[in-house]
Point group: D3
Chain length 280, copies 6
């Protein structure tokens, strides 16, 4: 779970941009004493992600509200499932319902799409992983949603993993030198991965002591050869333009990881409804 | 265009979450004096959005870099189009290229999807409008991207437009009272819209002096009747579950606006490549 | 009411600038266990504004304090009225009393001055409105205080209302073109107002479809003619150098709104006392 | 002068609250290439304060603009004086002119009102000083404006000066003990002032080694006696309800300082005009 | 005590930099329902500082935890002393224990080192004072820790005390002029200190009306002469390269204050252990 | 190098806490046009760290100043070395010199102390590593300084490395289960380390597939046995109470890493002088 203080900051910014000075309509039209009861309902099959964030949105702005969750992050629920209820002062709850829902729909969308990819490679040794292709500002939450959908994270940001790409290599002159330079300065709990375009590079990277190898845009044939070359010495990641249709074939080459940017970058919002009843 | 100081804050947060303490790989592997040249290329037909933001990302972190844009926000460009180049210190540019691209791909995705919707209703009087269903933290940019795709904005946030919904009405007891309360306190340059589920409500809303009416989930038949009822007195907005397939039929009922949450909430990232060359 | 999270941020900044590292005097001189009871008293006739903000100041820094308010925002109270009491740990309450009072006196000052202007035009159709001439940092609160004093807000900021001024017109070449450009990009719930210096411009603005017209520095005679010209088609705002003495005459020309910068920009602080008793 | 990084933060907040996502009108109506020239003109006699802040507002948002100031902070200028010009991109300058002017008018208002008070006591030994009765968020700037108007600052905040008031004394049991406690923990460059309601207390405070004494709400007669009692040993401050009319009489009692909250709390905005010309 | 809102901000930054997105280990390995009990134990003789900050760290991130402190800031405790216990949800407490301890060990280190210096000058009239040589970001807390160790603070920052140094003097041409300029603009509760390198300067400073004199890097002999020169008129501060070994000799010259940068700048962390027990 | 935007934020906070509203002395005493030249000089043998940060401090607040560095981060310089010069407006440079120096002295202190430890183990296979025992707020900079002194970083924070400690193990029931849980959720570029108190645990950890093993407080004998047990399969870290005196013996056991909290937590400030000359 993402740390609550990290999430609070994201919530505060989201509320600030959506509310501005005040929820004009509710402040003007609804009596201060009115109460509201909100119900969250899944309108499609989803993998739940962000239900804790949504709850935190309500509690942050309306500390006195009661939140009752009937599902939890990571649950797979069917269309029609009652996901939870929130009860409290109407003005406050109506002011934040859209923000709560925006988080929940977006993150459940990521988790749900991820799960579709993960399902495709069930039974293979390959594990789906995410990338740094995330929506600016939502890295932590989207990475967590991808996990809830069954993927693993690749790295969280630029300082917790080394990925030596073609440009790094060409500037250094060799994979060996690039790995050596990286090794000298990287935290000892951080791994070094090398991006390879060819099988020759794979051999070089293995010799250079890379902790992991990214096989960039290789054909299925080359992926298989790379798997053979490595012989299980280091984990191999297939990357580059993998789509839902081609995913299983890639997995069946024997690679350890397949990275897909689309799960965090192009997930449609999950269809989740919020029904409100307000009483004076 | 979104104000540059607003954008700078978004950029700073996006860089902070992606970089952490430092771009470990580039700092360790690339000599401080190395230069990079990056090229942005459209890999699909897109409506450009966020190219200014991407340029600002590069300039914010690497003030001495040179940015040359060959397209501008709002341009429709074909797959293969060279969109721009950036030249400067390699370490800095590589540290931020992903963040620049994340903004550009996401926002161009929104503009491109929006344009597809807009195209469907060409020739009708209906105008596509967006909603508050946006990605938390990116409201301003996504609203701008929707505009670049040909939509208009509905409202920016809760304090710059009044939208009286069913709950507001039921608490007040009548549309008339809800509008009256809203009118008494709303800034004089802000309009009041009333959500109506039935034609009776449309009549009530017209009598109550609403500035605009939202027709919620109405059948095509009812939309047509509402258009007739209103007789052009106030703009009418059709809303609720409108999809690309049903869009034109809705537009042909004669409504003034059609709101679609999907354009900001579910747009897949545009396929834009960034190719880098690094030289020592 | 302004959103509590917006207010909390203003309070935090105000406390930070007034306290610095600590309230040296109270920390050094008053025992940690001492309790204080503070009483807020009106020392002049006022329209109350900011009493909720003041209460929030106390609660923010001293969560365990008890606040009892005897008046509420918008109340008109006479000199001598007991406005409320706060009881709690002495060190904390003394550290923030000045900040609480600074908010309350300033905002009640704005509301009270506004009410004096509003009173002058009682019985006319004219409504007093505020402007963007506010104290930097306090826009939201001052706009709210103006409302409590009986005015309505014009617009909250530059993105929730369009006001086309002489410069915008001269650059476009015509009011018609300026309105057309604005209409194409403005959110659909936001109105477009045009500033007119002459009756010819009023005619142009009406034809261009302006939603509202600002009559800038016009004579009473011209104001009357503009009212006749418009014939109630759009609301008219009189603006420019209106003072308490000339207000009623302007109102009697038949305009809908009169804007006055002075109510937010030049309101003297309301005289409200805070009497404290500290007990060990 | 207030530190530029402190001022930048105030400017950023002021711009954020006034602009929101963008200056809609200028972005929509004015071509990107248009230039503007703004002229600042005094419309009343003023003591200038905030002209540097206004210049920094323009430069912060429009770094490429040219600012030419013809007056500087502290100058006394007559109605009609041309205070400065700004030239640059029209959209950016129009977006911030109101904020620049809000700072300038408010701060010049404070300096101008302060100067009126200061003038009244010319030729006496008394020096006007300010208080902590400032507008929340603007402490630093208002204190500086008061100085430009000829006052001196009392203390900047609660951690740079000790002021022992009646409550502190009553809790301690004696002025002597209160001063002793304060002395033991106060930074060595910070003075300790004691508020006295009676001449007996003045004697006590002198004996206790107070660095300065505040004479609270004393009659002119008692002020004179206090001056005699002190015999110049420590500076004396007269405080409490001093108005422009009574100021000189208080000064003539021989006190060293007279504090007036009104100069920062109730200063009307100075009348300064900003005339803009926009050219395509 | 430093104001809790000031401390909260420091805590939030410290937690953000140590936690990042989440405490990966605890989130993955420890069940959500597990409880932890932490015990803080002194492993050396220390002067306690920061125990309140540590408690605030736990409460900030884990509001439902129970904190029981057995010592308080300023206490002198022996190695082996049980300082306090914290009980609550294991994941949250383990995520913040290091940050709590980092504050406590650092601040107790400052207080403990300070106390060693203070002890050396027991029985003399000299008082140890701190400097602006503090760790960036921790000024308030380190100054407070120095006080807990028995020192007094010199000034908190650049705006709450005037210290005229050699460069200020040489630019002005004389101490007299420098003091005069400073006096004209300094808040009335703030003292003016003059740095003197020679006895001639001391005489000048006394004549110029300095409130305090810093004797910079003077020999013991000159310090004694300065004390004689001043004759108790203003406090004298000895400064410059004073070490634990030379401290007492300096104190015995009769100066009022001795400033030492080392106490805040070079204090080794106090040895305080945190033992945790986790239960499912 | 730490990312410049990260450093800028640290600098802004450090300046804010040291300057407050303004550098009173310089603003009052030094003419606005005066220039200063500052020289940084090593007064002891040091490993330079923070010279870039110091330069950034000057440039941040005084953009027009000229900074000339003669040493760079990581350089080992002798007492007496001229490290660099800064020339520019006197008021601005004097306002920030203390903050620049506070960063430089602290960070060079960390690097210099680290180098002393590193030197002790020269010629062994052991590498010195740091810990999370850093000064709150300065994690990034201190970790970088430790690297400049010749150490490597362990992990940067809680989300970029997994360290399974005794409590994690006892809650899980076995090392195997703890590692399995961690492996399932950790980013694929992040390593998992297990803390072992006994040789039995070392065997367990090896079998569980730990990426690295921390040998906690083991005797030299047990360290040697652990090295033999592991046989080079995974890196071994010796930790717990290692001091300068015992360091080499630990290194000679054959462990790969030795972690020492003291290098970041207890480093005395390096003695670096800043000499200023001011000219009108």
């Amino acid at each position: 779970m993402i740390d609550p203080l990290v999430v609070e900051e994201l919530i505060d910014r989201a509320l600030a941009e959506d509310i501005g000075f005040a929820d004009l309509t509710s402040e003007l039209v609804i009596p201060a004493a009115a109460r509201a009861e909100l119900a969250l309902n899944a309108r499609q099959d989803i993998v739940v992600a962000g239900i804790d964030v949504a709850a935190q949105v309500f509690r942050r702005r309306v500390p006195e509200c009661r939140v009752e969750l009937r599902v939890k992050d990571g649950d797979r629920v069917n269309a029609g499932t009652a996901m939870g209820r929130v009860e409290g002062p109407a003005r406050g709850l109506l002011a934040v319902e859209r923000t709560a829902l925006n988080f929940l729909q977006h993150l459940s969308g990521v988790a749900t799409l991820t799960a579709q990819y993960v399902e495709r490679i069930a039974g293979t040794r390959a594990v789906l992983i995410d990338t740094r292709k995330t929506t600016p500002g939502l890295r932590a939450l989207e990475k967590h949603a991808a996990q809830l959908g069954g993927a693993r994270n690749h790295r969280l940001r630029l300082d917790d993993g080394v990925l030596i790409k073609d440009n790094h290599i060409s500037v250094c002159g060799s994979i060996a030198l690039a790995v050596k330079r990286a090794r000298s300065g990287v935290p000892v709990l951080t791994k070094i991965e090398v991006e390879c375009d060819t099988l020759e590079q794979v051999t070089e990277a293995l010799e250079a002591g890379a902790d992991m190898i990214l096989l960039d845009n290789m054909s299925l044939e080359d992926l298989r050869r790379a798997v053979a070359l490595s012989g299980g010495r280091v984990p191999l990641e297939a990357s580059g333009g993998v789509r839902l249709e081609t995913l299983r074939a890639v997995a069946e080459t024997g690679v350890d990881f397949i990275s897909v940017g689309r799960i965090t970058q192009s997930a449609p919002a999950a269809d989740i409804g919020l029904d409100a009843v307000v009483r004076t």
